[in-house]
Amino acid sequence: MTFLGELRVQARQENLRLISHFVHGVGQRLALSDRALFDLELAIEEAATNIIHHAYPGERKGHLLISASETGDFVQVTLTDWGLPLDPTKVKPFDINAPVEARIKGGMGLHFIHALMDSVERTTSAEPGQPNTLKLVKLIERAEAGQSAMSPVQELNAMRSVSEVMTSNIKLDDLLNLILSKLVSTINAERGTLYLVDEEHGELWSRVLLQDTGPLSEIRLKIGEGIAGHVAATGAVLNIPDAYADPRFNPQFDKVSGFHTRTILTAPMLNPQQKVIGVVQLLNKKDGDFTFRDERLLTAMAAQAAISIENTRLYQQEIQQQLINRELETAHSIQASFLPDRIPALAGWDIGALWCPIRSVAGDFYDFHALADGRVGVVIADVSGKGIPAALFMALSVTVLRYGMSINLPPEEVLRHANEMIISEQRSRMFATTFVGYLDPDSGEMLFACGGHNPPLWYHAATGAVDYVTAQGVAVGIFKEAEFIPARLRLEPSDIFVLYTDGITEVLNSEEEEFGEDRLEALIRQHTALPAQELADRILETINDFAAEQELSDDATLVIVKRAGGGE
């Protein structure tokens, strides 16, 4: 068995193009006939499409690994995913005799896979997250000998595909070198330069120059300036039989390099969308002038080169993205480990909490802390900013708040201490709105302090009224001299106390309306009988429905404290 290559991508529709290029690379290496390559491509694309839609439905995300090998007379391609396993009872057999309307419903992809491949084997895991594989095997039918003499364009195509197959971390510079040397030798020129477009500056810059060019390590040209710049601006090939007779030619380059330029052939590198992504320039045809045939050949090869350059860039971005995602996943689990392991179980009380970062990590957090005297510290906080900086600041904030509680400081002192620590320890000028309450489970009394946090909502079961409680203070981490004045309240039987961050109340719907406190109140009144955790989940569900198509823009965190009814 010979390993041919493998490709690992995010299972997303946009990556089907990369997959298709990968399959072409495999086809080129095996010199597959057009027909065999077509069959292989169709079967793999259908299989990949099924994985994208069915193994990772909706918001589910994950990887798709495609690996190819050659075994005897067969090519074997295995697609692996880590999503939902296929449920064989849900697969309807494709009915070749059904009317056309019924046929478009689905099952077509699987029918193709089975019709086009010589063998199809599937393994499904018992549960989501474990690998599922689909092994496709096809007899290798090679292109006829007559067809196998490749044109220079095909050769370049093969080279790029092979480079994609062989390694997913090919360096762009190596590829450009490979391309340029191929162009120079095919067209029989003395020298060549490959320029890429720098869109930000509206410039061309030489990415590779073939052969030792001495001090000319990098050339930068404005688009529209000089010969290469002119080709970049017009997108048309330019054949100059006498360089020194052309006013666009800059003899300075010859002076510096000691080279004598006679003839110049310059072609744009157009991507499939006909956008100029670079320019390739060949100097001095070895035998006479550049011909019309050379112009056409160089144009075609430059277009192939453009595709391979774009693909390599795509690969690199994809890999970069994978690395970033992996780091974010790690950050998420580290951050989640800062949250309390479990919600305190207190007789006569029902407590629920949820933490919903908008990205992998959040600036919100909640905390519970058992105090030495039997009271329980309840904390909610919202750190300024989002993403990684907010997550790091959250870690600092959690630590200093916990320290204050662990040495039995009263709530206002916990905030004062945290404020001082944060101001002296960090220079990033971040802050956290924070609420700290100490609940006495026996009396229902809560002593609390508030550092500029959204006032918690207090539902009084006896009257049905709703209050917002607060105490004097400002967000932690802003003013060194900040004062925090404690306050006190008593939760009566069946009362509900809701601590939340603004990610709950400031959610916008498609009309740019805020969810607001009124809707939150109404929701709580409607569900006073629900257990705390279910109420928290219901609130999150409701704001998600409210936002509908709008993406949530802020982290959302909730803590719900319910006192049991009088009879219990």
């Binding site: 529709q13 089907l16 193009r17 298709s20 057009d34 027909r35 077509f38 491509e41 169709l42 694309e45 259908e46 499409t49 070749i96 005799n97 056309v100 309307e101 046929r103 478009i104 077509m108 992809g109 029918h111 193709f112 019709a115 086009l116």
Partner: protein, 110 residues
């Protein structure tokens, strides 16, 4: 993919070029649905420069076929490449679509 549209004898002809893969099927769907919503129900597709088609593309074609036939029209295909014709056969679509060798024959058949 590239799609160009023209009219001849009250029939709308689309010349297709490129790959009718999952991405191309979206372009094709947009072009054909637009025509159907403008009340054009007699459609001809020139397919000779289509190099590849997958189930997403076939689904689009079948969907449009159902719609135009409901409006007393038809969707006729011209000049399928060998590879595309084979895909039609595997899935049994050759029996549903009227396929012609030239645009003129397709137009004359309406």
């Amino acid at each position: 993919m590239n799609i160009t549209e023209r009219e001849q004898d009250g029939i709308t002809i689309f010349a297709l070029e490129g790959r009718v893969d999952s991405e191309g099927a979206l372009d094709l769907d947009l072009a054909l649905q637009t025509a159907v919503s403008e009340g054009k129900h007699k459609l001809v597709l020139e397919m000779d420069r289509v190099r590849y088609i997958n189930s997403a593309g076939l689904r689009t074609l079948a969907d449009i076929l159902t719609q135009v036939r409901a409006g007393q029209g038809d969707l006729k295909l011209v000049n399928l490449s060998q590879r595309v014709a084979r895909v039609f056969q595997i899935i049994g679509f050759d029996k549903f679509f009227s396929i012609y060798a030239t645009v003129d024959e397709a137009i004359a058949s309406f």
